[in-house]
Amino acid sequence: MPAPTPDVATQLGYWGVPLAIVAGAIRNSTPFIFVSLGETLTERSGRINLGQEGTLVMGAMAGFGVSYLVADHWSWAGGVAPWLGVLAAGLAGAALGVLHAWLCSQPRVNDVAVGIGIMLFGTGLAFYLGKPLIQPAAPQLPAINLGWWSHSESVRAALRINWLFFIGVALAPLMAWWLRNTRWGLIVRTVGESTDAARSMGYSVNRVRLFATAAGAFMAGIGGSFLSLYWPGSWNEGLNSGQGLMAVALVIFARWSPVNCLFAALLFGGAKALGPALQSVGVSRGHYLFDAAPYAMTLLIMIATCSASRSLAGAPAELGQATA
């Protein structure tokens, strides 16, 4: 487990606050990056998956469980165990995504409501299956030390960055390119913009959305595995705090663009780090209110960027339309 942020700030005095926020932004943003990229893919195909919160928790549980069990049974596999956990997290997420897509493909079934259902189901199932996993420790994901040049232990701790973050950062432009320039990207966008056009071209709307939802939930599951396999690095029932849902709001803020998602995720991660950073330098009055900062910020951003009278720029045209 990496050194906790408070150490960083106590050693550097008030200069520690911006450092802690930057470090926290990088650390906290990883789940946001993966969930929001996945949700972008799903929403570009014209369907909203509010169940990402449940997918995230399920991914966290599956990732932790597989990492623990693999390392427990085959001690020589300790190095690959966390990565198998990441894979398992993705697959568990994808399974929930398939369930979401299948239910939504029935006529007259509302995708927002199914999302709430997946949220409750995924959380409940993860808590149930994860009960025996609360005590043990699982092998964690490795990190890269970018702070080798510094003599300050706190700077080094802040710059110890997980591999998944870099994968997420690379994934964002890759997905933007994929959506814009490949045949498959075009099909996903067509389904998202006009189901009639997609049908007339001979593509099955439900099948494309099934793929987009499953792939999106796969990414959200990976985002969940970061929570249990790196930061905070254990499995318990208080692990998630609305990250999955905030990521859905973040996609709206990012105007359905994968690259914008990356920046928005960093912003949200920073907001999440604000409370702990201030607390670490002794500003503990009203720390609960600082904890609410990311939620309040999400809400304010949505108020500022949404509009009642026009559809948002970049919004897939089929999003929120009643399914046939």
Partner: protein, 392 residues
Amino acid sequence: MTETFNSQRPTIVFRTKRLIPASFIDAMIISVVAVVISLALFGLFVMFSGVEPVGMYGVMLRGAFGTPYAWRNTLIHAAPLLLTALCVALPARVGMIIIGGEGCVLIGGLLAALTAHLLPHAPPIVVQIGMIVVGMCGGGIWIAAAGALRQFRGVNETISSLLMNYIALALLNHCVEGPMHDPTSLDHPSSWPIGVANMMGNIPGTEIHVGLLFGIIMCVLCWVLMDHTNVGMAMRVVGGNVRAARVAGISVAKYSLLACFLGGAAAALTGVVEVAAVHGHANDSLAAGYGYAGILVAFVARQNPLAVIPVAILLGGVNGSGDLLQMKLKLSSASVQVFQGILFLVILGLDTWAGRLNEIRQTWFARLLGRVVYRNRKSSLVPGAVHAGANA
């Protein structure tokens, strides 16, 4: 000639209004089928965990409705769900999916504690009414705010109301550990106590707190409002077709916000009751997930305030039997959550039947009788059954 002319005109049948409309019966059929399917799936699920399902059903039934004690437990569990379900069901009638009930419960409880503190010398009945009125207004405004953001800024009400749950929890924690902290509550930070004299207590002659009574009254009132008044009619038009509502001169914003306000007020009443009849002060034990369970109740009741009553009692029974499942069968406490999740997904999957039950019945009967039925999955049109269905 007039005879022929008349026979060619489409016949319009005016039906007398039934007390229990056919849509209600359809809703109940779907709900019952959903519960049965979910119980079967849950049985399969526990079978994989090595628990024998038939015995599990027995334990569930005994834990929920088997003894007078179980019934009392069930009804106590059902009381908050009656009210938090309304927070979903009423906005759903105007076409909004609000899941902010949890936050409303917290706001209601917090305001109740505050009201009791601000009226130190008033007679108990005044304090109690004050707590109810202030709490309900606060919760109503809380959800109406989410509705207003949707109406005037186009903000997705599902996401905003869920975010507001987290904000409400932060606000509650801040207040009970900061400005409203009771210094004597050391191990579990709480607000000032409301005072023993101001407690609402139980329904006379029972050991069940007044929340159940409030819940049933609110459900019946909301049902009357929704199904038997002009206001409810206007709300249903708004929920059915916003453009049609505008053409008919109905103020969409007004009725949307009213539905949100009433829903929020109902959920906040849960918080008031929890503070004024159960805990005696506000703290984070208010956040017991009533708001989230209420979402499930509302969907299983298919957003009908009257159907909320039996569904809440059923779900209250399932929640109440959780302890016995844990004790007798060593099933983890999360198993109830798994059942709730399964039930939620099944009821949503069966949404595809809503309003088509007649049509589906016709198709199935026709198939049973060996007739050819042309069924087009995409348009959900069933040419073979349309005529028969239209007359029924």
